[in-house]
Symmetry: C2
Subunit: 330 residues, 2 copies
């Protein structure tokens, strides 16, 4: 590991995992933490934390407030938990406009209502100019597990892999906003609360093995984590990956892989084969999930690896993203 | 309220309370939040959050890691809860030394052990130089309530007011460190885990009405919050306030009030009169609590007010601190 912290160590990919394991897991060693789920499972409770540093604060489709509530509630939903109680801790730079703060807090309120969750504890720090860039928000959430046993460690050959919607919108939106790229006005962050989709799946009795929202590191990071944690090979049909024309455009222009772009309302599911058709039907009943798709299968071809198969019969490994992706993406 | 956020709005005093009420409570309105306790009470669980921005990161008696674990575990302990599960979310500036991070994480590990708590979920963000000053840490904690009913809303004339140790050490230490003041080598932050002291009191059957650690805003802020929340008058004997010679020195030199200085291992207790002697005896069995003292009583003289009585028979109101106290104190 390097002697000083690098941006790559916050990328949601290889270097990030390395830092977490060598510094944090090493010191905090315990079984709950080491399961590496989206949220910790404590009896019938799920608990998760996230700090949000996104720049710009306001962007097409959302803002840091909506992002903070979605990010934390989604991590709970991914463990089959109903989001219930959140804490909200803000670090604000001296001189920040109160009106902007009120807009952010209003976004949080609206998104909490969608999840049926409440903020029960908070903390407000104000720091001198130059100590922080505008505002950072931490949200930590507690959820009640309604479907136990969902785990990234249990993916097997009995499952197929689904994605709930087109990928890469959040990453492409933030990149475009930050670089001042004028894109088609339809490109917007996918930032969205996933509990309603999860609830609909669970209510219909869909047999879910694992779910994970594809935030930093994108779909590529999630699939690689699952392959490694469950000791399986995940084979993905490249042409089945749902990608919008706008995101394809940004990727072609800048040489990005859509599979490495961050998402904030997009999740990967491992579903028992027999439940796949029903899951797809339910997902597609949500407007934002029009492009929901079964994208791959689970095999033992190359355990711990993800394979991307092209329509021409060729294939390559899809690796965990590495290097400096976009910092302050979430 | 001002149009832009001021440092005073993060002071733990008047302006801070005003911001919290007008922006956060207004949007997040719910009964749990509005009880304004050190931690939210959810059934038999207590939940609390804090973000730590202290500068310098390492100071006499502790560092930001120890502070983060103590701060959050202490808020749980103040509600009669055993600290159990913490989350740890860090925002690190690119270029921060890995060795410093390891020292900080090691401090957290050691302090978690004292509390018998574990970190179950984490988040690691790295932001470009200039987006944050070195490292900020959020810890959110979940505790199991072992003594229900402890509340800042229940202080009554049946109680006396105690303080567990000499006040103001953390604020004085940070101030001295930041300003490069060379003080006696015995001045050090009081940063310390309070659960062991709370457990000893509860195990002995001490009847505790309320407890609160006197962090930002100091003892003055706590006493005023209690007077207001419980609609009582708290009368404090100035000469009984435990203050070390070192802290007195800093206060005299710089015109501070020790009652407004931040603490990180000092708490105020409202104890049923009949339990006071036992509580004092138990507290004094802890080395750091040699100066534990009964400092005042609860009356109806001036409801919602705190009175400071001098040894010469005069008295004055002790107000909630206001204005720019020391930013980045915790």
């Amino acid at each position: 590991m390097t002697k000083t912290i690098t941006l790559a160590q916050g990328n949601g990919g290889e270097e990030n995992n390395d830092l977490i394991k060598k510094v944090f897991y090493k010191a905090f060693k315990n079984e709950i933490l080491e399961r590496s789920e989206d949220a910790a499972v404590i009896g019938n409770l799920a608990m998760t934390t996230d700090s949000f540093t996104v720049s710009p604060l306001f962007f097409a489709g959302a803002d840091i407030g909506k992002l903070a509530v979605c990010g934390t509630c989604n991590d709970l939903a991914m463990m089959g938990a109903k989001p219930k109680y959140l804490t909200c801790s803000v670090i604000i730079e001296e001189g920040f406009e109160v009106e902007s703060l009120e807009r952010i807090v209003e976004s949080m309120r609206a998104e909490l209502a969608i999840n049926g969750a409440v903020v029960v504890s908070g903390d407000t720090k104000v720091v001198p100019k130059g100590s922080v860039d505008k505002i950072f928000i931490n949200t930590t959430g507690l959820g009640e597990i309604v479907q136990a046993g969902i785990s990234s460690n249990n993916v097997s050959e009995e499952d197929v892999i689904l994605i709930n919607r087109d990928i890469g919108c959040h990453g492409a939106t933030i990149f475009a906003a930050r670089e001042g790229i004028e894109m088609s006005s339809t490109l917007r962050s996918d930032c969205n609360s996933l509990y309603p989709q999860v609830k609909a799946l669970l209510d219909a009795g869909v047999e879910i093995t694992a779910m994970r929202d594809a935030t930093r590191g994108g779909v590529a990071a999630v699939l690689n984590e699952w392959a490694r944690q469950s000791d399986v090979c995940i084979e993905v049909d490249e042409e089945k990956l749902p990608i919008s024309d706008e995101v394809k455009g940004i990727c072609e222009m800048l040489g990005f892989e859509a599979t490495a772009l961050a998402n904030e309302g997009t999740f990967v599911l491992a579903i028992k084969k027999g439940s796949a058709a029903k899951a797809l039907e339910i997902l597609k009943s949500f407007e934002v999930c029009a492009m929901a798709s079964v994208v791959g299968e689970v095999t033992q071809k190359y355990p711990k690896k993800v394979i991307l198969k092209s329509p021409w019969g060729t294939s390559r490994f899809l690796e965990t993203p590495n290097g400096e992706l976009l910092p302050r993406i979430c």
